[in-house]
Amino acid sequence: MTDISHPARFERPSALAFLGYAVGLVIIFWSFAGAGFSLDKVISSPPRFADFLDRAFPPNLEPKVLSRLGWKMVETLQIALAGAVIGVILSLPVALLAARGLIAGPWINQITRTSLGFIRAVPDIAWALVFVVAVGLGPFAGMLAIAIDTIGFCGRFFADDMEAVEKGPSESLTATGARRLDVVACATVPAALPAFISTSLFALEKAVRSSTILGLVGAGGIGIELKVGFDLFDYPTAMTVILMIAVVVIGIEQISSKARSRIIGEQR
Protein backbone atom coordinates (compact mmCIF):
# COMPACT_ATOMS: atom_id res chain seq x y z
CA MET A 1 0.00 0.00 0.00
CA THR A 2 2.80 2.38 0.83
CA ASP A 3 4.94 1.73 -2.20
CA ILE A 4 3.56 4.67 -4.14
CA SER A 5 6.71 6.16 -5.59
CA HIS A 6 7.24 9.77 -4.63
CA PRO A 7 8.30 12.20 -7.30
CA ALA A 8 11.99 13.06 -6.99
CA ARG A 9 12.66 16.17 -4.93
CA PHE A 10 14.97 17.51 -7.58
CA GLU A 11 14.73 16.80 -11.25
CA ARG A 12 17.97 15.76 -12.92
CA PRO A 13 18.61 18.38 -15.62
CA SER A 14 18.90 17.07 -19.16
CA ALA A 15 22.27 17.31 -20.90
CA LEU A 16 21.00 20.24 -22.95
CA ALA A 17 19.76 22.12 -19.88
CA PHE A 18 23.11 21.48 -18.19
CA LEU A 19 24.94 22.95 -21.17
CA GLY A 20 22.58 25.93 -21.00
CA TYR A 21 23.42 26.60 -17.35
CA ALA A 22 27.15 26.33 -18.06
CA VAL A 23 26.97 28.78 -20.94
CA GLY A 24 24.91 31.14 -18.76
CA LEU A 25 27.55 31.09 -16.03
CA VAL A 26 30.35 31.76 -18.49
CA ILE A 27 28.45 34.75 -19.90
CA ILE A 28 27.91 36.16 -16.43
CA PHE A 29 31.64 35.93 -15.52
CA TRP A 30 32.59 37.33 -18.89
CA SER A 31 30.28 40.29 -18.20
CA PHE A 32 31.97 40.99 -14.86
CA ALA A 33 35.29 41.06 -16.70
CA GLY A 34 33.88 43.37 -19.35
CA ALA A 35 32.50 45.69 -16.66
CA GLY A 36 36.02 46.03 -15.27
CA PHE A 37 35.06 44.43 -11.98
CA SER A 38 37.99 44.79 -9.65
CA LEU A 39 38.14 43.69 -6.04
CA ASP A 40 40.94 46.21 -5.45
CA LYS A 41 38.64 49.07 -6.33
CA VAL A 42 35.81 47.66 -4.26
CA ILE A 43 38.12 47.54 -1.26
CA SER A 44 39.64 50.95 -1.86
CA SER A 45 36.35 52.69 -2.63
CA PRO A 46 34.76 52.95 0.83
CA PRO A 47 37.45 55.37 2.00
CA ARG A 48 37.09 57.38 -1.19
CA PHE A 49 33.34 57.35 -0.89
CA ALA A 50 33.65 58.45 2.71
CA ASP A 51 35.93 61.22 1.54
CA PHE A 52 33.27 62.36 -0.95
CA LEU A 53 30.58 62.28 1.71
CA ASP A 54 32.88 64.17 4.05
CA ARG A 55 33.33 66.90 1.47
CA ALA A 56 29.66 66.90 0.39
CA PHE A 57 28.23 67.19 3.90
CA PRO A 58 26.67 69.27 5.09
CA PRO A 59 24.74 69.94 1.85
CA ASN A 60 24.68 73.52 0.69
CA LEU A 61 21.61 75.07 2.30
CA GLU A 62 22.37 78.71 1.59
CA PRO A 63 19.03 80.45 0.95
CA LYS A 64 20.30 81.91 -2.32
CA VAL A 65 21.36 78.50 -3.61
CA LEU A 66 18.22 76.84 -2.34
CA SER A 67 16.02 79.33 -4.13
CA ARG A 68 18.00 78.96 -7.38
CA LEU A 69 17.79 75.16 -7.19
CA GLY A 70 14.14 75.36 -6.20
CA TRP A 71 13.28 77.28 -9.34
CA LYS A 72 15.32 74.83 -11.42
CA MET A 73 13.28 72.04 -9.85
CA VAL A 74 10.07 73.84 -10.75
CA GLU A 75 11.29 74.08 -14.34
CA THR A 76 12.09 70.35 -14.21
CA LEU A 77 8.57 69.52 -13.14
CA GLN A 78 7.14 71.83 -15.79
CA ILE A 79 9.15 69.98 -18.44
CA ALA A 80 7.93 66.66 -17.09
CA LEU A 81 4.28 67.65 -16.86
CA ALA A 82 4.11 69.44 -20.22
CA GLY A 83 5.95 66.63 -21.99
CA ALA A 84 3.86 63.91 -20.35
CA VAL A 85 0.56 65.66 -21.15
CA ILE A 86 1.44 66.18 -24.82
CA GLY A 87 2.73 62.61 -24.98
CA VAL A 88 -0.42 61.15 -23.44
CA ILE A 89 -2.69 63.12 -25.79
CA LEU A 90 -0.74 62.06 -28.87
CA SER A 91 -0.63 58.48 -27.59
CA LEU A 92 -4.40 58.09 -27.97
CA PRO A 93 -4.57 58.19 -31.78
CA VAL A 94 -1.31 56.23 -32.01
CA ALA A 95 -2.73 53.53 -29.72
CA LEU A 96 -5.86 53.29 -31.89
CA LEU A 97 -3.59 52.41 -34.80
CA ALA A 98 -1.54 49.99 -32.72
CA ALA A 99 -4.45 48.08 -31.14
CA ARG A 100 -5.27 44.88 -32.98
CA GLY A 101 -8.82 44.35 -34.16
CA LEU A 102 -10.09 47.87 -33.44
CA ILE A 103 -9.98 50.21 -36.41
CA ALA A 104 -6.72 49.56 -38.22
CA GLY A 105 -5.70 46.45 -40.13
CA PRO A 106 -2.90 44.09 -39.15
CA TRP A 107 -0.31 45.84 -41.33
CA ILE A 108 -0.87 49.20 -39.73
CA ASN A 109 -0.92 47.55 -36.27
CA GLN A 110 2.44 45.96 -36.93
CA ILE A 111 4.07 49.07 -38.39
CA THR A 112 2.83 51.21 -35.52
CA ARG A 113 3.94 48.71 -32.88
CA THR A 114 7.37 48.39 -34.45
CA SER A 115 7.79 52.17 -34.52
CA LEU A 116 6.75 52.39 -30.89
CA GLY A 117 9.28 49.68 -30.06
CA PHE A 118 11.96 51.75 -31.77
CA ILE A 119 10.97 54.87 -29.83
CA ARG A 120 11.25 52.92 -26.57
CA ALA A 121 14.56 51.36 -27.54
CA VAL A 122 16.21 54.78 -27.89
CA PRO A 123 17.05 56.07 -24.37
CA ASP A 124 15.45 59.31 -23.26
CA ILE A 125 18.82 61.01 -22.93
CA ALA A 126 19.54 60.19 -26.59
CA TRP A 127 16.21 61.74 -27.61
CA ALA A 128 17.20 64.81 -25.60
CA LEU A 129 20.51 65.04 -27.51
CA VAL A 130 18.64 64.75 -30.81
CA PHE A 131 16.19 67.51 -29.88
CA VAL A 132 18.96 69.76 -28.57
CA VAL A 133 20.41 69.55 -32.07
CA ALA A 134 16.98 70.11 -33.62
CA VAL A 135 15.59 72.98 -31.52
CA GLY A 136 18.62 74.19 -29.58
CA LEU A 137 19.60 74.06 -25.92
CA GLY A 138 16.95 74.57 -23.28
CA PRO A 139 13.82 73.14 -21.71
CA PHE A 140 11.88 72.90 -24.98
CA ALA A 141 14.23 70.19 -26.23
CA GLY A 142 13.73 68.40 -22.93
CA MET A 143 9.97 68.64 -23.19
CA LEU A 144 10.03 67.15 -26.69
CA ALA A 145 12.24 64.31 -25.47
CA ILE A 146 9.79 63.55 -22.63
CA ALA A 147 6.84 63.75 -25.04
CA ILE A 148 8.30 61.26 -27.48
CA ASP A 149 9.39 58.97 -24.67
CA THR A 150 5.83 59.07 -23.30
CA ILE A 151 4.38 58.19 -26.71
CA GLY A 152 6.61 55.14 -26.88
CA PHE A 153 5.37 54.04 -23.48
CA CYS A 154 1.69 55.07 -23.51
CA GLY A 155 1.08 54.29 -27.18
CA ARG A 156 2.01 50.69 -26.54
CA PHE A 157 0.24 50.27 -23.21
CA PHE A 158 -2.93 52.16 -24.17
CA ALA A 159 -3.18 49.77 -27.13
CA ASP A 160 -2.74 46.76 -24.84
CA ASP A 161 -5.34 48.21 -22.46
CA MET A 162 -7.87 48.55 -25.28
CA GLU A 163 -7.20 45.06 -26.57
CA ALA A 164 -7.83 43.69 -23.08
CA VAL A 165 -11.26 45.31 -22.77
CA GLU A 166 -14.18 42.89 -22.67
CA LYS A 167 -15.61 42.43 -26.17
CA GLY A 168 -19.27 42.10 -25.14
CA PRO A 169 -20.29 45.78 -25.16
CA SER A 170 -18.59 46.48 -28.47
CA GLU A 171 -20.21 43.45 -30.06
CA SER A 172 -23.61 44.65 -28.86
CA LEU A 173 -23.06 48.04 -30.50
CA THR A 174 -21.68 46.50 -33.68
CA ALA A 175 -24.80 44.35 -33.85
CA THR A 176 -26.98 47.45 -34.01
CA GLY A 177 -25.03 48.86 -36.94
CA ALA A 178 -22.65 51.29 -35.21
CA ARG A 179 -19.48 52.25 -37.12
CA ARG A 180 -16.15 51.00 -35.83
CA LEU A 181 -14.99 54.40 -34.67
CA ASP A 182 -18.25 54.91 -32.79
CA VAL A 183 -17.96 51.48 -31.20
CA VAL A 184 -14.43 52.24 -30.05
CA ALA A 185 -15.42 55.65 -28.70
CA CYS A 186 -18.53 54.39 -26.91
CA ALA A 187 -17.56 50.95 -25.66
CA THR A 188 -13.80 50.39 -25.80
CA VAL A 189 -12.40 53.74 -24.62
CA PRO A 190 -14.76 54.23 -21.65
CA ALA A 191 -14.00 50.71 -20.43
CA ALA A 192 -10.25 51.26 -20.84
CA LEU A 193 -10.26 54.68 -19.18
CA PRO A 194 -9.18 53.61 -15.67
CA ALA A 195 -6.30 51.68 -17.21
CA PHE A 196 -5.40 54.74 -19.33
CA ILE A 197 -5.27 56.96 -16.25
CA SER A 198 -3.17 54.44 -14.36
CA THR A 199 -0.77 54.13 -17.31
CA SER A 200 -0.60 57.93 -17.64
CA LEU A 201 0.35 58.29 -13.98
CA PHE A 202 3.19 55.81 -14.52
CA ALA A 203 4.22 57.87 -17.53
CA LEU A 204 4.26 61.00 -15.39
CA GLU A 205 6.47 59.33 -12.77
CA LYS A 206 8.79 58.20 -15.52
CA ALA A 207 8.79 61.71 -16.99
CA VAL A 208 9.75 63.28 -13.65
CA ARG A 209 12.63 60.83 -13.23
CA SER A 210 13.86 61.47 -16.78
CA SER A 211 13.49 65.22 -16.59
CA THR A 212 15.89 65.46 -13.64
CA ILE A 213 18.82 64.32 -15.76
CA LEU A 214 17.98 66.01 -19.08
CA GLY A 215 20.05 68.98 -17.91
CA LEU A 216 23.20 66.86 -18.26
CA VAL A 217 22.92 67.31 -22.02
CA GLY A 218 21.60 70.86 -21.87
CA ALA A 219 17.94 70.03 -22.34
CA GLY A 220 16.72 72.05 -19.35
CA GLY A 221 15.91 71.28 -15.75
CA ILE A 222 17.89 70.70 -12.59
CA GLY A 223 20.34 68.20 -14.14
CA ILE A 224 22.62 71.02 -15.25
CA GLU A 225 23.17 71.98 -11.59
CA LEU A 226 24.29 68.44 -10.84
CA LYS A 227 26.79 68.55 -13.69
CA VAL A 228 28.13 71.97 -12.73
CA GLY A 229 28.36 70.96 -9.09
CA PHE A 230 30.52 67.94 -9.91
CA ASP A 231 32.56 69.75 -12.56
CA LEU A 232 33.48 72.51 -10.09
CA PHE A 233 34.04 70.08 -7.18
CA ASP A 234 31.21 71.91 -5.41
CA TYR A 235 30.05 68.70 -3.75
CA PRO A 236 27.79 70.30 -1.10
CA THR A 237 25.66 71.87 -3.82
CA ALA A 238 25.65 68.64 -5.84
CA MET A 239 24.50 66.82 -2.70
CA THR A 240 21.65 69.30 -2.27
CA VAL A 241 20.59 68.61 -5.84
CA ILE A 242 20.68 64.84 -5.31
CA LEU A 243 18.61 65.09 -2.14
CA MET A 244 16.12 67.42 -3.81
CA ILE A 245 15.68 65.03 -6.72
CA ALA A 246 15.18 62.10 -4.37
CA VAL A 247 12.57 63.95 -2.34
CA VAL A 248 10.63 65.13 -5.40
CA VAL A 249 10.72 61.77 -7.19
CA ILE A 250 9.62 59.89 -4.09
CA GLY A 251 6.89 62.47 -3.46
CA ILE A 252 5.56 62.18 -7.00
CA GLU A 253 5.57 58.39 -6.77
CA GLN A 254 3.59 58.53 -3.54
CA ILE A 255 0.99 60.91 -4.95
CA SER A 256 0.65 58.93 -8.12
CA SER A 257 0.27 55.59 -6.41
CA LYS A 258 -2.36 57.07 -4.07
CA ALA A 259 -4.25 58.42 -7.06
CA ARG A 260 -3.93 55.12 -8.87
CA SER A 261 -5.28 53.04 -6.02
CA ARG A 262 -8.20 55.44 -5.67
CA ILE A 263 -9.05 55.10 -9.35
CA ILE A 264 -8.69 51.34 -9.43
CA GLY A 265 -10.41 51.02 -6.08
CA GLU A 266 -13.36 52.99 -7.37
CA GLN A 267 -13.71 50.58 -10.26
CA ARG A 268 -14.63 47.62 -8.08
Binding site: E171, T176, G177, A178, A187
Partner: protein, 270 residues
Protein backbone atom coordinates in the same frame (compact mmCIF):
# COMPACT_ATOMS: atom_id res chain seq x y z
CA UNK B 1 -35.94 31.96 -59.49
CA UNK B 2 -35.04 33.08 -55.98
CA UNK B 3 -38.24 35.09 -56.00
CA UNK B 4 -40.23 31.97 -56.54
CA UNK B 5 -38.36 30.26 -53.75
CA UNK B 6 -39.21 33.20 -51.49
CA UNK B 7 -42.91 32.88 -52.00
CA UNK B 8 -42.82 29.16 -51.59
CA UNK B 9 -41.14 29.30 -48.24
CA UNK B 10 -43.38 32.05 -47.02
CA UNK B 11 -46.39 30.03 -48.09
CA UNK B 12 -45.08 27.00 -46.27
CA UNK B 13 -44.54 29.02 -43.16
CA UNK B 14 -47.98 30.44 -42.96
CA UNK B 15 -50.09 27.58 -44.31
CA UNK B 16 -48.05 24.43 -44.63
CA UNK B 17 -47.04 24.19 -41.00
CA UNK B 18 -50.54 24.33 -39.74
CA UNK B 19 -51.35 27.95 -38.96
CA UNK B 20 -54.40 27.55 -41.17
CA UNK B 21 -55.62 30.78 -42.69
CA UNK B 22 -52.87 33.18 -41.70
CA UNK B 23 -52.05 35.71 -44.42
CA UNK B 24 -48.81 35.41 -46.36
CA UNK B 25 -46.25 37.37 -44.39
CA UNK B 26 -42.95 38.73 -45.66
CA UNK B 27 -39.96 36.57 -44.81
CA UNK B 28 -37.54 38.47 -42.57
CA UNK B 29 -34.74 35.93 -42.28
CA UNK B 30 -33.80 33.03 -44.45
CA UNK B 31 -30.82 30.83 -43.75
CA UNK B 32 -29.80 28.47 -46.50
CA UNK B 33 -27.44 25.51 -45.92
CA UNK B 34 -25.29 27.32 -43.36
CA UNK B 35 -22.12 25.62 -42.18
CA UNK B 36 -19.52 26.83 -39.73
CA UNK B 37 -16.28 25.38 -38.38
CA UNK B 38 -13.70 26.84 -36.04
CA UNK B 39 -10.41 25.49 -37.30
CA UNK B 40 -10.95 21.78 -37.81
CA UNK B 41 -13.94 21.59 -35.50
CA UNK B 42 -17.24 21.52 -37.31
CA UNK B 43 -19.85 23.36 -35.25
CA UNK B 44 -22.87 22.83 -37.50
CA UNK B 45 -23.60 22.15 -41.12
CA UNK B 46 -26.48 22.46 -43.53
CA UNK B 47 -28.70 24.61 -41.33
CA UNK B 48 -31.67 26.05 -43.22
CA UNK B 49 -34.80 27.80 -42.01
CA UNK B 50 -36.98 30.81 -42.68
CA UNK B 51 -38.70 33.29 -40.38
CA UNK B 52 -41.75 35.39 -41.18
CA UNK B 53 -42.41 38.90 -39.96
CA UNK B 54 -43.65 38.99 -36.39
CA UNK B 55 -42.74 35.42 -35.61
CA UNK B 56 -40.95 34.50 -32.37
CA UNK B 57 -38.53 31.65 -32.72
CA UNK B 58 -36.66 29.86 -29.97
CA UNK B 59 -33.34 28.19 -30.68
CA UNK B 60 -32.62 25.39 -28.24
CA UNK B 61 -29.82 22.88 -27.78
CA UNK B 62 -27.26 21.75 -25.22
CA UNK B 63 -24.33 23.93 -24.21
CA UNK B 64 -21.75 24.26 -26.92
CA UNK B 65 -23.93 23.07 -29.79
CA UNK B 66 -23.38 26.33 -31.61
CA UNK B 67 -26.51 28.35 -30.88
CA UNK B 68 -24.61 31.57 -30.27
CA UNK B 69 -22.42 30.88 -33.27
CA UNK B 70 -25.52 30.43 -35.43
CA UNK B 71 -26.90 33.74 -34.19
CA UNK B 72 -23.61 35.51 -34.98
CA UNK B 73 -23.60 34.03 -38.48
CA UNK B 74 -27.14 35.25 -39.07
CA UNK B 75 -26.20 38.78 -37.99
CA UNK B 76 -23.01 38.65 -40.03
CA UNK B 77 -20.86 39.25 -36.94
CA UNK B 78 -18.86 36.25 -38.07
CA UNK B 79 -18.85 34.77 -41.56
CA UNK B 80 -20.32 31.35 -42.20
CA UNK B 81 -18.06 28.96 -44.11
CA UNK B 82 -20.74 28.19 -46.64
CA UNK B 83 -24.40 28.83 -47.22
CA UNK B 84 -26.30 32.08 -47.29
CA UNK B 85 -28.24 34.31 -44.96
CA UNK B 86 -30.80 36.76 -46.22
CA UNK B 87 -32.13 39.26 -43.72
CA UNK B 88 -34.78 41.87 -44.53
CA UNK B 89 -34.08 41.33 -48.22
CA UNK B 90 -30.30 41.79 -47.99
CA UNK B 91 -27.83 39.00 -48.57
CA UNK B 92 -25.80 39.17 -45.35
CA UNK B 93 -23.01 36.94 -46.64
CA UNK B 94 -22.31 39.17 -49.65
CA UNK B 95 -23.09 42.58 -48.15
CA UNK B 96 -20.45 45.30 -48.08
CA UNK B 97 -19.68 46.80 -44.65
CA UNK B 98 -21.85 49.86 -45.28
CA UNK B 99 -24.81 47.72 -46.36
CA UNK B 100 -24.31 45.50 -43.36
CA UNK B 101 -24.41 48.48 -41.03
CA UNK B 102 -27.59 49.76 -42.64
CA UNK B 103 -29.13 46.35 -42.21
CA UNK B 104 -28.03 46.04 -38.60
CA UNK B 105 -29.50 49.43 -37.81
CA UNK B 106 -32.86 47.65 -38.18
CA UNK B 107 -31.86 44.97 -35.70
CA UNK B 108 -31.46 44.83 -31.92
CA UNK B 109 -29.43 42.40 -29.81
CA UNK B 110 -29.80 41.42 -26.17
CA UNK B 111 -26.99 39.15 -25.01
CA UNK B 112 -26.38 36.68 -22.26
CA UNK B 113 -24.57 39.32 -20.28
CA UNK B 114 -26.10 42.75 -20.43
CA UNK B 115 -22.97 44.17 -22.11
CA UNK B 116 -23.63 47.71 -20.97
CA UNK B 117 -20.69 50.10 -20.91
CA UNK B 118 -19.99 50.17 -17.17
CA UNK B 119 -18.72 53.69 -16.58
CA UNK B 120 -21.39 55.49 -18.54
CA UNK B 121 -24.88 56.48 -17.46
CA UNK B 122 -27.91 54.34 -18.16
CA UNK B 123 -29.23 57.00 -20.54
CA UNK B 124 -25.96 57.14 -22.53
CA UNK B 125 -26.09 53.38 -22.88
CA UNK B 126 -29.60 53.56 -24.31
CA UNK B 127 -28.65 56.44 -26.63
CA UNK B 128 -25.91 54.14 -28.02
CA UNK B 129 -28.71 51.98 -29.40
CA UNK B 130 -29.28 54.73 -31.98
CA UNK B 131 -25.69 54.75 -33.29
CA UNK B 132 -26.67 52.53 -36.20
CA UNK B 133 -29.09 55.14 -37.47
CA UNK B 134 -27.13 58.19 -36.34
CA UNK B 135 -23.41 57.60 -36.55
CA UNK B 136 -21.07 60.15 -35.07
CA UNK B 137 -20.07 62.14 -32.04
CA UNK B 138 -23.52 63.34 -31.01
CA UNK B 139 -24.66 59.87 -30.02
CA UNK B 140 -21.53 59.05 -28.03
CA UNK B 141 -23.10 60.37 -24.87
CA UNK B 142 -26.50 61.49 -23.66
CA UNK B 143 -24.96 64.89 -22.93
CA UNK B 144 -24.28 65.53 -26.63
CA UNK B 145 -27.36 63.78 -28.04
CA UNK B 146 -30.04 65.73 -29.92
CA UNK B 147 -33.29 66.25 -28.01
CA UNK B 148 -35.18 63.79 -30.22
CA UNK B 149 -32.75 61.01 -29.43
CA UNK B 150 -32.77 61.73 -25.72
CA UNK B 151 -36.56 61.63 -25.77
CA UNK B 152 -36.57 58.34 -27.66
CA UNK B 153 -34.11 56.90 -25.16
CA UNK B 154 -36.16 58.13 -22.20
CA UNK B 155 -39.28 56.63 -23.76
CA UNK B 156 -37.53 53.27 -24.20
CA UNK B 157 -36.37 53.43 -20.57
CA UNK B 158 -39.94 54.21 -19.55
CA UNK B 159 -41.16 51.11 -21.33
CA UNK B 160 -38.81 48.93 -19.30
CA UNK B 161 -39.79 50.80 -16.15
CA UNK B 162 -36.43 52.40 -15.43
CA UNK B 163 -36.89 56.04 -16.42
CA UNK B 164 -36.03 57.09 -12.87
CA UNK B 165 -32.58 55.50 -13.13
CA UNK B 166 -31.57 57.35 -16.30
CA UNK B 167 -28.68 59.14 -14.57
CA UNK B 168 -27.39 56.14 -12.65
CA UNK B 169 -24.06 54.66 -13.71
CA UNK B 170 -24.62 51.39 -15.53
CA UNK B 171 -22.36 49.42 -13.17
CA UNK B 172 -24.52 50.43 -10.22
CA UNK B 173 -27.54 48.39 -11.38
CA UNK B 174 -28.79 44.98 -10.32
CA UNK B 175 -28.62 42.14 -12.83
CA UNK B 176 -32.29 42.39 -13.72
CA UNK B 177 -32.13 46.16 -14.11
CA UNK B 178 -29.05 45.88 -16.35
CA UNK B 179 -30.78 43.41 -18.60
CA UNK B 180 -33.82 45.69 -18.82
CA UNK B 181 -31.58 48.59 -19.83
CA UNK B 182 -30.08 46.30 -22.48
CA UNK B 183 -33.61 45.65 -23.74
CA UNK B 184 -34.27 49.40 -23.86
CA UNK B 185 -31.06 49.86 -25.84
CA UNK B 186 -32.10 47.12 -28.27
CA UNK B 187 -35.58 48.61 -28.72
CA UNK B 188 -34.79 52.32 -28.91
CA UNK B 189 -34.05 52.22 -32.64
CA UNK B 190 -37.44 50.60 -33.40
CA UNK B 191 -35.84 47.45 -34.84
CA UNK B 192 -37.66 45.07 -37.17
CA UNK B 193 -35.85 42.06 -35.75
CA UNK B 194 -34.74 41.40 -32.19
CA UNK B 195 -32.12 38.83 -31.31
CA UNK B 196 -31.63 37.57 -27.78
CA UNK B 197 -28.91 35.15 -26.67
CA UNK B 198 -29.98 33.55 -23.38
CA UNK B 199 -31.09 36.90 -21.98
CA UNK B 200 -31.87 35.37 -18.59
CA UNK B 201 -28.74 33.26 -18.18
CA UNK B 202 -27.12 35.63 -15.69
CA UNK B 203 -30.30 36.26 -13.67
CA UNK B 204 -32.03 34.45 -10.84
CA UNK B 205 -35.22 32.64 -11.92
CA UNK B 206 -37.67 35.30 -10.73
CA UNK B 207 -35.77 38.16 -12.37
CA UNK B 208 -35.39 36.00 -15.47
CA UNK B 209 -39.14 35.48 -15.64
CA UNK B 210 -39.74 39.23 -15.37
CA UNK B 211 -37.23 39.98 -18.09
CA UNK B 212 -38.73 37.43 -20.47
CA UNK B 213 -42.26 38.74 -19.85
CA UNK B 214 -41.17 42.29 -20.45
CA UNK B 215 -39.10 41.43 -23.50
CA UNK B 216 -41.92 39.59 -25.21
CA UNK B 217 -44.70 41.98 -24.29
CA UNK B 218 -42.67 44.81 -25.86
CA UNK B 219 -41.64 42.75 -28.85
CA UNK B 220 -45.26 41.70 -29.56
CA UNK B 221 -46.49 45.25 -29.13
CA UNK B 222 -44.03 46.52 -31.72
CA UNK B 223 -44.69 43.53 -33.98
CA UNK B 224 -41.01 42.67 -34.34
CA UNK B 225 -39.61 39.33 -35.35
CA UNK B 226 -37.79 37.68 -32.45
CA UNK B 227 -35.04 35.11 -32.51
CA UNK B 228 -34.06 34.00 -29.04
CA UNK B 229 -31.77 31.37 -27.64
CA UNK B 230 -32.90 29.69 -24.48
CA UNK B 231 -31.88 26.73 -22.43
CA UNK B 232 -35.15 26.83 -20.49
CA UNK B 233 -37.47 24.53 -22.35
CA UNK B 234 -40.43 26.16 -20.69
CA UNK B 235 -39.33 29.57 -22.00
CA UNK B 236 -38.93 28.17 -25.48
CA UNK B 237 -42.45 26.73 -25.39
CA UNK B 238 -44.11 29.67 -23.68
CA UNK B 239 -42.63 32.49 -25.67
CA UNK B 240 -41.77 30.89 -28.98
CA UNK B 241 -44.14 30.39 -31.89
CA UNK B 242 -41.63 28.01 -33.28
CA UNK B 243 -38.73 26.03 -31.90
CA UNK B 244 -35.50 25.26 -33.73
CA UNK B 245 -33.31 22.62 -32.13
CA UNK B 246 -29.58 22.19 -32.72
CA UNK B 247 -28.11 18.78 -31.92
CA UNK B 248 -25.37 16.66 -33.39
CA UNK B 249 -24.09 19.52 -35.56
CA UNK B 250 -27.41 19.70 -37.43
CA UNK B 251 -30.73 21.44 -37.19
CA UNK B 252 -32.71 18.54 -35.73
CA UNK B 253 -35.94 20.28 -34.95
CA UNK B 254 -38.12 22.91 -36.63
CA UNK B 255 -41.62 22.71 -35.25
CA UNK B 256 -44.42 24.94 -34.06
CA UNK B 257 -44.26 25.37 -30.31
CA UNK B 258 -47.86 24.33 -29.74
CA UNK B 259 -47.14 20.98 -31.38
CA UNK B 260 -44.41 20.23 -28.84
CA UNK B 261 -44.21 19.33 -25.20
CA UNK B 262 -41.30 19.48 -22.81
CA UNK B 263 -40.66 15.74 -22.95
CA UNK B 264 -40.24 15.80 -26.72
CA UNK B 265 -37.98 18.80 -26.39
CA UNK B 266 -35.91 17.08 -23.74
CA UNK B 267 -35.12 14.23 -26.12
CA UNK B 268 -33.09 16.67 -28.14
CA UNK B 269 -30.62 16.94 -25.28
CA UNK B 270 -29.86 13.22 -25.07
Amino acid sequence: MTDLLDKQTAQERSTGTGAGFAPVLPVDIRACALSKSFGDTLIFSDVSFGLSRGEAVAIVGSNGTGKSTLLRCIMGLIAADSGQVEMLGTNVSAARPAELRKLRAQVGLVSQKHNLVPRLSVLSNVVHGLLGQHPGLRHWSQALAPTGSREAAMEALGKVGLADLANRRADRLSGGQSQRVAIARALVGQPKILFADEPTASLDPAAGEDVMDLFFSLARKQGVTVVFISHHMSHALTYGDRVLGLAGKKLRLDTRADHLNEAELRELYD
